[in-house]
């Protein structure tokens, strides 16, 4: 007989982790939607967010209320610089080349972080309340619960901005048809810039939460691989897909991790990835692009 309480607790922890995947997935989708760039450096940008926060709080001694916005601003600045310096020159090149540029960027960021803060894992200062939380009878680790809550809030903000704000509408128009958007007076270049800034800011914010839960280390970029699975499963250009995919992958990882063993986590997610690619290559909610000669 299975212990349903235990299963519920594992599932809740998985959904909590999944919320962070979903948040980072939304950052990924923002970039893909607007610029058609698969950004494999998202994991490293997230890591950099965690480290910048650590530097501001532990190094510069700033209070939390100042450090968090500054980290997010730093993320946005990084996004703007990267888009200008690395992605804009690659406009019109094959998607694979741009994809490799982001892999190179990830390598550079990982190296810079290791150079600045060393290779050892670090712990962020405690700032999440740690009174135990119970949902019904099931125990949820407070860090995971608050992390998921903040992630959900940020996702809501991002979705609302995409839906109602002027920039969000411009971004969606650009994603639909670049030429038409351009002729309607939308500055497509600025939309590209904006999407990178918003995505990197979101990723940096996610980095703070991920770091607060599990600590930070230069190998944190591996998180990006799971996010890649999330967005492929959900569909590269779908925000809803990122949400569903994130929760699904979080759940699968947690269940595989606690019932099969920690080393089965990656096996489970990547098997799911290949399965999805075989059955539905454009993901659950993605747009099926038809190729014509």
């Amino acid at each position: 007989m299975m212990d349903w309480l235990y299963v519920t607790e594992v599932a809740l922890a998985g959904l909590g982790a999944g919320a962070l995947y979903a948040l980072t997935g939304v950052a990924f989708v923002l970039i893909y939607k607007a610029t058609r760039v698969v950004n494999l450096a998202i994991g490293e940008i997230l890591m950099l967010g965690g480290y910048v926060f650590f530097g501001l709080v532990a190094g510069a001694g700033l209070p939390l209320w100042a450090a968090i916005p500054l980290t997010i601003l730093a993320g946005a600045a990084l996004g703007a610089v990267v888009e200008r310096a690395l992605i804009r020159p690659m406009l019109g090149e094959s998607p694979i080349s741009v994809f490799m540029v982001t892999i190179g960027l990830g390598s550079i960021l990982a190296g810079v972080v290791e150079l600045a803060w060393g290779a050892d894992p670090l712990r962020l200062p405690e700032f999440i309340p740690n009174t135990p939380i119970f949902l019904g009878e099931a125990y949820v680790a407070p860090k995971v619960a608050y992390g998921a809550l903040v992630a959900a809030l940020l996702i809501a903000v991002a979705v609302a901005a995409l839906r109602f704000s002027r920039g969000g509408v411009a971004l969606r128009a650009t994603a639909r048809d670049q030429g038409a958007a351009y002729s309607m007076g939308i500055d497509v270049g600025r939309v590209f810039s904006l999407s990178w800034m918003a995505a990197c800011a979101t990723a940096a914010g996610a980095g703070v939460i991920v770091g607060a839960i599990g600590g930070i280390s230069p190998t944190m970029g591996i998180f990006g691989l799971s996010v890649l699975v999330v967005v492929i499963v959900g569909g590269l250009d779908s925000v809803a897909g990122a949400l569903v995919g994130g929760l699904l992958i979080g759940l699968v990882e947690a269940l595989a991790g606690s019932f099969l063993g920690g080393e089965y986590k990656l096996l489970a997610t990547f098997s799911l990835l290949i399965l999805i690619l075989m059955i539905r290559p454009y993901g659950i909610f993605g747009t099926h692009e038809i190729e014509r000669l």
Partner: protein
């Protein structure tokens, strides 16, 4: 000064080189490769072996990615399959090394075909991601199968050639360099044949290629098989060279390394695979030298080596893609052109 090459027959048009001078240079290169172990120190022979192994693997990836246009991030995992096959055969069966290498190649080719099956449905980025998934699964198998020795891996005896143990780089050189030379030559000639031409047609536009009567799935899988065969043999050579095979020997970053090597060298040129693999293998060594010189001024310079290497690796990929997308092979062509046109156009 040379103003052009006149070709009077199809044979001349599809020959490997368009001038006789290039054959002279090739002969000189061959002679110097034969002479190298007699004049170079152990360190340089070690590096030459390592470069040769990487050239073999990069050339294999070039067949798949550079010529067929199918991006793979599974080359390191394929090398792992070859290395483990050789190690298991050497330990359990004890067959001679050339049989082991061939079996490793064949084994990896069949794994490659299985991994290549998604290429029927997906291409481009999606395929690259599918190969990441496949290499993760292969890693899991390496680390959890009894036959592959789990996380501790396998230690194997050296290769034997008529009773001589090939246990030192200067002996292994005579195994590694000829095999690599043969494989590179084979790859160069492959693109003069129907199959090789079909690969290029698929790269340029796969739907058009299918309209022209090239069976897409079959040709793509052939490309996967050939490329993984190269990876398998290169992995086998790698196993003979280091003689310890562990799951950590072939991480995902190595697959990125090979893809970076053909980008830096120049995709879709045989010369590019060679130059890129040699360049990317030697850059970390040069960095080590530079950091060694810095030690008197920067006390903990050696601890900075690993992150600097990571940064340079990334910067090379980004820099070449932005500023020199055709890679080192294009730079080489530019230098050639300069000398051809000298002194009339400089």
């Amino acid at each position: 000064m040379r103003i052009g090459t006149l070709k009077l027959s199809y044979a001349a048009d599809e020959s490997l080189f368009d001038t006789k001078v290039q054959w002279v240079w090739l002969a000189l290169l061959a002679v110097s490769l034969v002479l190298l172990p007699f004049v170079a120190g152990p360190y340089w022979i070690y590096m030459a072996c390592l470069v040769a192994i990487n050239v073999a693997s990069a050339t294999g990836l070039n067949i798949l990615t550079g010529y067929t246009g199918l991006v793979s991030l599974g080359q390191a995992a394929f090398m792992g399959v070859g290395a483990y096959t050789v190690a298991v055969l050497e330990i359990r069966v004890g067959t001679p090394f050339f049989i082991n290498l061939l079996v490793a190649g064949a084994m990896t080719a069949s794994v490659g075909v299985i991994v290549g099956i998604p290429s029927l449905r997906v291409k481009g980025l999606y395929l690259a991601i599918a190969t990441i998934g496949a290499s993760m699964i292969l890693h899991f198998v390496f680390a959890h199968w009894e036959l592959t020795g789990g996380t501790r891996g396998l230690s194997m005896p050296p290769a034997h050639f008529f009773g001589i143990a090939l246990d030192q780089p200067h002996k292994l050189y005579w195994l590694i360099m000829p095999v690599t030379a043969l494989m590179v030559l084979g790859a160069a000639n492959l693109f003069r044949t129907r199959v090789g031409r079909a690969f290029i047609a698929i790269r340029d536009r796969d739907i058009s290629a299918e309209v022209l009567g090239i069976p897409l799935l079959q040709t793509k899988l052939t490309s996967f098989a050939l490329s993984s065969f190269y990876a398998g043999v290169a992995g086998g050579l790698w196993a003979y060279f280091f003689r310890v095979v562990t799951p950590e020997s072939f991480p995902l970053i190595n697959s990125i390394f090979y893809l970076a090597a053909i980008i830096v060298g120049g995709m879709g040129t045989i010369l590019g695979g060679i130059l890129g693999a040699a360049f990317m293998t030697l850059v970390p060594e040069v960095l080590k030298l530079v950091v060694g010189w810095l030690t008197p001024w920067v006390p903990d310079a050696l601890s900075l080596l690993a992150p600097i290497r990571t940064i340079v690796f990334g910067a090379l990929i980004v820099g070449f893609l932005i500023f020199e997308p055709q890679g080192l092979a294009e730079i080489w062509q530019r230098i050639r052109r300069f000398f051809h046109l000298w002194p009339f156009r400089t």
